[in-house]
Structure formats: structure tokens, C-alpha cells
């Protein structure tokens, strides 16, 4: 597989599929046929292109996007100030923890930013304490207080 940062060149039809299908997929017995018709494609062609877009990684998935917190789980953004010489070792600790969903290095004194996702709200604080115990570093939590938008729409 190509590195995740390698852009894939899309033709006009792929671009229309990616741009028009980021939501609103119909809840009808033949949804791909319904969408294909609005795009001027055949159902088979749409399915083949979606398979190719998933295989090349242009789409990371296709289907319902669930809100984890509505299932009783909890999610929080978190950050740490990790000394450069310990950075890789701390990243490896988080890599092994199933509660950590994403982790990014960012160019800031708070240089490690990650998402903690747990089955219960109490799990967030427990995970924070576990990370602090294993790294001897302070974990700052930035839980969302209000969501203004999460559309994740992207222009291809």
C-alpha cells in the first residue's frame, strides 16, 4: 500500500462521487441505483468505483457514521508536553493502549495530541491517570463542551 500521504488523482466522475456522497445516502432498497441515477451512472459502475476508491484509500469507509458518545461511551481530546528525547517511547506507550484512538505530533510545546475513547465517562479520567502513571507526564484533557459543527465534508 502507498504511504497514506500520497495523493491519488481522481477523474471527474470519482470527484463527483466523493463530493456528492458525503452524507444523505438514501434509505431505500436499491440505494446505489438511486444515487447512480442522479450522477448519470449505472449502478454497477458506481459500485465498482466505490470499491476502487476504498481500495486506494481515497475513502476510508462507506456507510453510517456513528456518534460514539450516544452509545454511553466518552471521548476526549488530550495533550501532553513530551520532551523530545522521550517522544518515541511515549508514543509507543499510547500505541499499545486501546483507549487511544488517534495520536498526532504537533509543532507546539504541547507536542502530542490524542483522542481518548472509552466505554464509560469514568474511563476518560482512569485513562488519564494510567498515562500519567506510565509516563510521569501531565495529561491535559480538552473534552468538548459544545459542538458547533462536525460535517467533515471535504472538496475532492
Amino acid at each position: 500500500m502507498r504511504p497514506a500521504a500520497t495523493p491519488v488523482v481522481l477523474d471527474e466522475i470519482d470527484r463527483r462521487i466523493v463530493n456528492s456522497l458525503q452524507g444523505g445516502f438514501p434509505l431505500v432498497p436499491r440505494p446505489y441505483a438511486a444515487v447512480a441515477e442522479t450522477l448519470g451512472l449505472g449502478e454497477d459502475e458506481l459500485l465498482a468505483r466505490l470499491r476502487a476508491l476504498l481500495a486506494s484509500g481515497v475513502l476510508s469507509r462507506f456507510g453510517p457514521m456513528y456518534d460514539a458518545e450516544k452509545f454511553g461511551g466518552a471521548v476526549s481530546l488530550a495533550a501532553m508536553r513530551v520532551p523530545a528525547e522521550r517522544f518515541d517511547a511515549v508514543a509507543a506507550i499510547l500505541m499499545d493502549m486501546p483507549e487511544i484512538a488517534h495520536n498526532y505530533e504537533r509543532d507546539h510545546p504541547l507536542d502530542m495530541w490524542f483522542v481518548i475513547a472509552t466505554e464509560t465517562p469514568a474511563g476518560i479520567e482512569a485513562t488519564r491517570r494510567a498515562i500519567e502513571a506510565r509516563t510521569d507526564l501531565e495529561v491535559l484533557l480538552f473534552p468538548k463542551e459544545r459542538e458547533y459543527f462536525i460535517g467533515m465534508r471535504v472538496e475532492a
Binding site: 434509505l27 475513502l59 453510517p64 457514521m65 456513528y66 499510547l94 500505541m95 459543527f149 471535504v154
Partner: protein, 162 residues
């Protein structure tokens, strides 16, 4: 936080679809076979989950990097408390902002209470977009910063069920 009770059938539908819908002409009928209910039941339950916000949307989830949007900047803003709930939705409505949240400050290290994720094909493009947010926030803005991601250390999907 809104909690919605899901029964065993709902949970089975989530488990069957959380990694994606079948790429077949009749995806809901295929899910119905896996779950052991009718196609109409799957469609009706997904409609209800969508209405309750448990399903945010149904469709394609693009990978920004593969689309050439390799530069992602987490813009962070210190906005007056009395104004942030008025301005936040305006920032969130900008078409280049993919996530926008109010979060707690962590003083003294971290004075920012508004987070908006911006993606672009270059740093210049991301900086131009940051400038648009700055203009929009106007006099209610006290300080801001932008944190570029320099490395993805871990990225796993959230598994909800199963």
C-alpha cells in the same frame, strides 16, 4: 449528553455496519440477513438512529491525505466567554472547517476555548483560511495559535460495538 437506549437488534445493526455498508445492490437486505430481521426493519431502524443523531450521516468518509489535503492545522482561539457561543457556529459554518468545538481552557498554559480544524493543499492555503476565521471573530478575539500536525502517530477507527 443525550443517551438513547438501543436494543439488541439496534446493536446488531451497528455491529454489522460500523466498518461499512455492503457494496452490493441491496445493502440493507444483506445487513438484514446478517442480523436476522427484514430489510424494512433495517431501513426503519437506521432512519430512527439517523433522526436521533446516533447515526450522524450515511455516506463516504474521505481520507484528506489521499485527496491531497496534506496540511492540517488545528486553529485555536481565545474568544470572550460571552461571545463564543454566538461566534462558534459561524466558524463551524465555514466550508473549509471540518470540526469546530468549544473546549475548556487549561490556564496558564492554554488560553484557547475554540478549536477549528482546517485542511488545505499547502500551508499557505491553511494560513489564508486561518486569516478568514480571524476576521470573522473580530474584536471578541484575544489570542490565537495554529498547531500543524507533523506526524500521525496512531489512527484507528473507533469501534462502537462488538
Amino acid at each position: 449528553m443525550t443517551r438513547t437506549t438501543l436494543d439488541a437488534v439496534d446493536r446488531a445493526i451497528v455491529a454489522a455496519t460500523q466498518s461499512g455498508l455492503p457494496l452490493t445492490p441491496t445493502p440493507y437486505a444483506d445487513v438484514a440477513v446478517t442480523v436476522g430481521v427484514t430489510e424494512a426493519e433495517v431501513i426503519a431502524r437506521l432512519a430512527r438512529l439517523l433522526e436521533a443523531g446516533i447515526v450522524r450521516r450515511i455516506g463516504a468518509v474521505p481520507n484528506h491525505y489521499r485527496l491531497g489535503l496534506a496540511h492540517n492545522g488545528m486553529t485555536v482561539w481565545d474568544v470572550e466567554d460571552g461571545e463564543v457561543d454566538r461566534l462558534g457556529p459561524l466558524v463551524g459554518a465555514l466550508d473549509f472547517v471540518t470540526h469546530c468545538y468549544r473546549r475548556p481552557r487549561a490556564l496558564p498554559d492554554w488560553p484557547y476555548n475554540l478549536f477549528a480544524m482546517v485542511h488545505g493543499r499547502s500551508r499557505d492555503e491553511v494560513e489564508a483560511k486561518r486569516g478568514e476565521i480571524e476576521t470573522l471573530l473580530g474584536p471578541s478575539l484575544r489570542a490565537s495559535d495554529i498547531l500543524y500536525s507533523t506526524r500521525i502517530l496512531k489512527k484507528t477507527g473507533l469501534r462502537i460495538v462488538g
